[in-house]
Each structure stands twice: as structure tokens, then as C-alpha cells.
């Protein structure tokens, strides 16, 4: 497979740095506003984008992303809007993956979802609640469509299971930095570094770390041992708290530029 995501990770590696991957739910802060955020991210040093498919029962997400998903769902975001956003991000030059709980894929149709991702220029899909045991149909659909499958591994993933999960990953392996839900944390747990080291004994696939990263300092730390640094809640918090969209976009741009420096300072 050779998706735009694969290529941007190779490029970052050749520059001896980590890639900066930003997360934003489709339809947040509004369906059009999301596109403006994406444009800003693309212009502020972000290497790749995760677009969230907002879901009614996001058990992996903390209060910040829950609130954003609620806003997006109330605005009427569904599969059509998610794919439209993927297309927009792709055309803005950002390698793009969708992060979604499993049921929206199953409802859309497993094969159809993979095809529609590819048709809109998407590089792959992160499926945080799809276990490898349940993934056979998905693997075959994504292989035919030529898109990456990104599974999440956790600090608690047992040694004997780790290789089985990472073997199913392409694009990158998503390493959850801690045991918990999404949300900005003041410190990145030391478990992240150990987990990445354990993952590397099982696979050559790049490893990106998510959950809790919100500052340049943290991005720098994580870039010291990972191939990708994923930041979500920090951007969303800015947009939730901003008095108006213009201020929000300006602050998102500032944070993205800081983080982009961080991922270049780690090594």
C-alpha cells in the first residue's frame, strides 16, 4: 500500500522528525467551520489529519470530544458530511484518515465504507473499538479499496497479543499513551515510551502516539520516540472556548505552529 499517509510518514522520517497529526470531528464547530479549521491546520504545519465521525455513544472519549461530537451531531453530520470533509482535506493537501467507532461503518456497509473512503481521497480509517477478532470483513474490504487500517493498542495489551494487533495495522500503529479516554493531560505518562518500544519489537510500521498531548513540550517528548504525534482535544478545547470563530482559528493556528516546532525538536 502507498497512500498519502504512508508517504508523509516516510517524508517525516527522512527529515528525522515525527509527523504532526491533528484530530477534528467532522461537522465541528459547524459543517463549513470544520473546513475552515482544516485549511488553517494545513497552513500551520500539520502533516496529516484525523477526521472524527461523531457518534452518539463515544465510550473512548472524554468530555471535550463528547461535547464537540454532540455539537456536530446536532448540526446533522452523517456519513455524507464525513466523506465530504475527507474530500475537502485531501484537496487541501492533507493526508487524511477517518476515526470512527464501528457501528457507523457497519450501518453504512463495510465494503461500501472502504470504497467511499478511497473514492474521496482518504488514506485510511482508525477503528478504536474494532477488535482484531472482529475485523476480517473490514480487512478484506480495506485491502480491496487500498486504504490503511489503523488499530489502537494500549499499555495493557499483552505481549502475546501485541504482534497480532500490529500485524493488522497499516499506515501507522496507534499507541494509546495511557489507560483512559481522550482529553488533554498535563503530563504524558511514561508508559507511552515503553509501549512504543514494545510495539517496535513486533513491526516496522510507524507508530503514532495519542491521548493527552496538548503542548509543544509534550510533542517534543513524544517525538523523541514515536513517528507521529496525535493532538485532538487541545484544538477542540480552543474552539469550544473561543469567543468567535476568528479568534478560535487564530489560536488553532498558533498551537499547530508550536506543535510543529515540537515534533522537530525531539531528536
Amino acid at each position: 500500500m502507498n497512500t498519502p499517509l504512508d508517504r508523509v510518514l516516510v517524508k517525516a522520517k527522512s527529515e528525522n522528525r515525527a509527523a504532526l497529526i491533528a484530530y477534528i470531528p467532522a461537522g465541528f464547530p459547524s459543517i463549513e467551520g470544520c473546513k475552515r479549521v482544516i485549511k488553517v491546520l494545513a497552513d500551520s504545519g500539520v502533516d496529516a489529519l484525523e477526521i472524527g465521525f461523531p457518534y452518539s455513544d463515544p465510550v473512548m472519549d472524554g468530555p471535550t470530544i463528547q461535547e464537540a461530537a454532540d455539537i456536530s451531531l446536532r448540526a446533522g453530520t452523517g456519513a455524507a458530511e464525513v466523506f465530504e470533509t475527507v474530500k475537502f482535506a485531501h484537496e487541501a493537501g492533507l493526508p487524511t484518515v477517518v476515526m470512527t467507532y464501528w457501528n457507523p461503518i457497519e450501518k453504512f456497509g463495510v465494503e461500501a465504507f472502504a470504497k467511499e473512503m478511497a473514492r474521496n481521497g482518504g488514506s485510511g480509517v482508525i477503528t478504536p473499538d474494532l477488535t482484531i477478532e472482529e475485523s476480517r470483513e473490514w480487512k478484506s474490504a480495506t485491502t480491496s479499496a487500498g486504504i490503511n487500517t489503523i488499530f489502537v493498542v494500549a499499555p495493557s495489551t499483552a505481549e502475546k497479543r501485541l504482534g497480532d494487533v500490529t500485524a493488522q495495522c497499516s499506515g501507522f500503529v496507534y499507541a494509546a499513551s495511557l489507560m483512559g479516554v481522550t482529553g488533554a493531560r498535563t503530563t504524558i505518562s511514561s508508559g507511552a515510551k515503553d509501549l512504543v518500544a514494545r510495539i517496535r519489537t513486533t513491526t516496522q510500521t510507524p507508530v503514532a502516539v495519542g491521548l493527552g498531548v496538548s503542548t509543544r513540550e509534550q510533542a517534543k517528548d513524544v517525538a523523541g520516540f514515536a513517528d507521529g504525534v496525535i493532538v485532538g482535544s487541545a484544538f477542540i478545547k480552543i474552539l469550544l472556548n473561543a469567543g468567535d470563530e476568528e479568534t478560535g482559528l487564530k489560536e488553532v493556528s498558533e498551537l499547530a505552529r508550536e506543535l510543529a516546532l515540537g515534533v522537530r525538536e525531539g531528536r
Binding site: Y55, S56, D57, P58, V59, M60, G62, Q66, L73, G78, A79, W102, N103, P104, I105, E106, K107, F108, P128, D129, L130, T131, E133, E134, F151, V152, V153, A154, P155, S156, T157, A158, R161, V165, A176, M179, G180, V181
Partner: protein, 399 residues
């Protein structure tokens, strides 16, 4: 029919069940599955649970024939399996004591639980008090209001009750919050799930702790009437009391198994919790089953007068029993359930839980269909003390 290979090793009931959870929980689910398997094979564990049931729960629960109520059910013989007489007032204690013993076996010190009607929360708080465990119960804010008596009971028992203000503020949102707690604290905490839903091994394990209901009832019915019942009836929230009374009868194919879902204002209005009757296959809370969902796979909020049935999902084994035609599922409206609630109270001197009243309303219908020669076994899953306020409002009784 053989049910030996159902579920398979990873909890599939045909296309249903399985595990759809964050990888962070896999270790804990495997640990739980192993603990459950080893407990099943451990005579000491089984003896400890049996002793608790005999000296604490009050098992076996009795069978009561409801003769005056039967006059409103086509004259069929109505046999009530009295889970309402268990300690804490419902069937929920069967599963809770089993899982509390497993919690001890796994060396964990903290349990979390979700609750709708509060019955599972009360049972969990009770077991936590008995075994000296820390207990946190997540409950939708809407449910803390309509089941306020049970909130007080949980607090008296020493549990912390956390009202959940997300989403529909009912059972589904309480489960979301409990799952988030579990992902974060899984090292020290057991999630004591209260029904036959969720990721493997919960549907199988919770069933195993409840199947005693059907095993006892079968013996009791045979003793009383000398033959198997024509139909076994139960209400369906997540489906634990129903699977508990159904399970031992699954091989007896001449016995009809009928589950009654919460029809709310009527399935045709869209305001209901009849997941099998009005939903479609999908994934919710870690398992594939029937789900109330929209075209994008978003969960649709359920509606029922009964907090314990107000859930847009259902256990995967019920989805399977439905699809293979072994069990039937029908919807009972709020109004039908409240009529049966009133009737059982006035004809038998038994105030049922509103949840259980759905099965009683079902008996009134099925009894008329089958006529006076029929014998119906009904799971009276809980007592109605917790529902007195709701019923008083419903019937206009001043408080």
C-alpha cells in the same frame, strides 16, 4: 436443538455478540472470562455461591399461582416465579453475588455498575457492603429522578451514586460513563455489568448466574402441575431475567419462550424501547445485537415508563434466539403494562415492578390466545416498591 457450540470461544451467538471494545479492555475481559471459566469448574466457588443464595438471597424463590389474576388472562393457569422476593427485591442479585465473588477471586477491590431502575445498583451496593468493596454506581440523571428511592437505598448502603447528564440521561448513558471509568481504572476495578449485554464474556457469564431461575422454576412447575408449561414469559430490558428463566427451557422445543419489550407510547410512534421489534442489527456497548439506530448508525434514544427497560439495545443471545425462531419478542405499551401492574396488585396483593408488569401484560394477551388449558410461567422479576411514586402519579393518587 443443540446449544453446545453457542456461544463460540469469543462469545458469538451466530452473527451476534463478540467484542467491540477499546483494546485497553481486552486484558480485563480475558481475565474475567478465565475467572468465570475456572469458577464454573470449581466446586468451592459453586458451594459458596449456593450457600449465599440459600442464606442471603432467599433461594429458591417460590412459585405462586395467580388464580384471580388468571381470570383476566383467558383463564390460563398463571404461575409466577417470585424473583421479587429475593433480597433487594429483584432477580438482579443473582448475577451481582456471582460477579462479586469473581471480583474477590480476581483480587480487585472496587466495583462500578450502571443502573436504570436502580435495582442493579442497589444489588451491587448490597454486595459491595457484604464483601467490603468500594462501589460506584452510574445512573442517568433522568433515572435518579424517577427512581429516587433506590438512589437513597444505594447511598444508605455506602455506595457513591454518580448522576450522568450526557445524552438521554438514562441507562445507555450510564453504561457509557461506566465504560469510561473502566478503561481508566481497569487495573483495580471490576465493571459489574447488570444485564446479558456488553462484550464477551458478559452475556454468557451473566446468563450463567441467572439460569438458576429457570432451573428452579422447571422443577417447581413439574412438581405442581406434572408437566412443562406451554409458554415461559418475561420482560426484556437488556434481557437478563428473561434469559435466566428461558435458558433451561431452550431444549424443550414444545415450550414457547416469549419476551416482552417496552413498547412505550407504541412502537409505531417511535417512542419506545422495543429493540428487537423496532430495531435492526448493529453494534452498541461492545456487542453486536439489535439496536435502535438511525440511518447513520447513531443510537436512537429509547422511551419507556419503566426505567429498567428503557434501553436501546438487547443481549445478543436474544437476537440469536429471535433470528432462529426459538423465542418470540413482542412489545407492550406503557398503558398495557400499567393496567397489568394495577391488576396484579388488586387481584393478588402483589405489587410488581413496572418492568415485570410488561410480562404480566403479555400473560393477559397470551393467556387469551392459548385459552384455559394453557399453563404460563411468568418471571416476576422484581417488586414494585421502587415504582410507587411513578404509579401514584400515573393513577392520580395524591402523595
Amino acid at each position: 436443538m443443540s446449544t453446545d457450540e453457542i456461544p463460540d470461544q469469543i462469545g458469538h451467538f451466530g452473527p451476534y455478540g463478540g467484542r467491540f471494545v477499546p483494546e485497553a479492555l481486552i486484558g480485563a475481559l480475558e481475565e474475567l472470562d478465565l475467572a468465570h471459566q475456572s469458577a464454573l469448574a470449581d466446586p468451592l466457588f459453586q458451594a459458596e455461591l449456593a450457600h449465599l443464595h440459600a442464606t442471603y438471597t432467599g433461594r429458591p424463590s417460590i412459585l405462586t399461582e395467580a388464580k384471580r389474576f388468571a381470570e383476566h388472562a383467558g383463564g390460563a393457569r398463571i404461575l409466577l416465579k417470585r424473583e421479587d422476593l429475593n433480597h433487594t427485591g429483584s432477580h438482579k442479585i443473582n448475577n451481582v453475588l456471582g460477579q462479586a465473588l469473581l471480583t474477590k477471586r480476581m483480587g480487585k477491590k472496587r466495583i462500578i455498575a450502571e443502573t436504570g431502575a436502580g435495582q442493579h445498583g442497589v444489588a451491587s451496593a448490597t454486595a459491595a457492603a457484604l464483601f467490603g468493596l468500594e462501589c460506584v454506581v452510574y445512573m442517568g440523571e433522568e433515572d435518579t429522578r424517577r427512581q429516587s428511592l433506590n438512589v437513597a437505598r444505594m447511598k444508605i448502603l455506602g455506595a457513591e451514586v454518580i448522576p450522568v447528564t450526557a445524552g438521554s440521561r438514562t441507562l445507555k448513558d450510564a453504561i457509557n460513563e461506566a465504560m469510561r471509568d473502566w478503561v481508566t481504572n481497569v487495573d483495580t476495578t471490576h465493571y459489574l455489568l447488570g444485564t446479558v449485554a456488553g462484550p464477551h464474556p458478559f452475556p454468557t457469564m451473566v446468563r450463567d448466574f441467572h439460569k438458576i431461575i429457570g432451573e428452579e422454576a422447571k422443577r417447581q412447575v413439574l412438581e405442581l402441575v406434572g408437566r412443562l408449561p406451554d409458554a415461559v414469559l418475561a420482560c426484556i430490558g437488556g434481557g437478563s431475567n428473561a434469559i435466566g428463566i428461558f435458558h433451561d427451557f431452550i431444549p424443550d422445543t414444545q415450550v414457547r419462550l416469549i419476551g416482552f419489550e417496552a413498547g412505550g407510547d407504541g412502537v409505531e410512534t417511535g417512542r419506545h424501547a422495543a429493540t428487537i421489534t423496532g430495531g435492526s442489527p448493529g453494534v452498541l456497548h461492545g456487542t453486536r445485537s439489535y439496536v435502535l439506530q438511525d440511518a447513520n448508525g447513531q443510537t436512537i434514544e429509547s422511551h419507556s415508563i419503566s426505567a429498567g427497560l428503557d434501553y436501546p439495545g438487547v443481549g445478543p443471545e436474544h437476537a440469536y434466539l429471535h433470528d432462529i425462531g426459538r423465542a418470540e419478542y413482542r412489545a407492550i405499551t406503557d398503558a398495557q403494562a400499567m393496567e397489568a401492574f394495577d391488576l396484579l396488585s388488586k387481584t393478588e396483593g402483589i405489587i410488581p415492578a413496572i418492568e415485570s408488569a410488561h410480562a404480566l401484560a403479555g400473560a393477559m394477551i397470551v393467556g387469551k390466545e392459548l385459552g384455559p388449558d394453557a399453563i404460563l410461567l411468568i418471571n416476576l422479576s422484581g417488586r414494585g416498591d421502587k415504582d410507587v411514586e411513578t404509579a401514584a402519579h400515573y393513577f392520580g393518587i395524591p402523595l
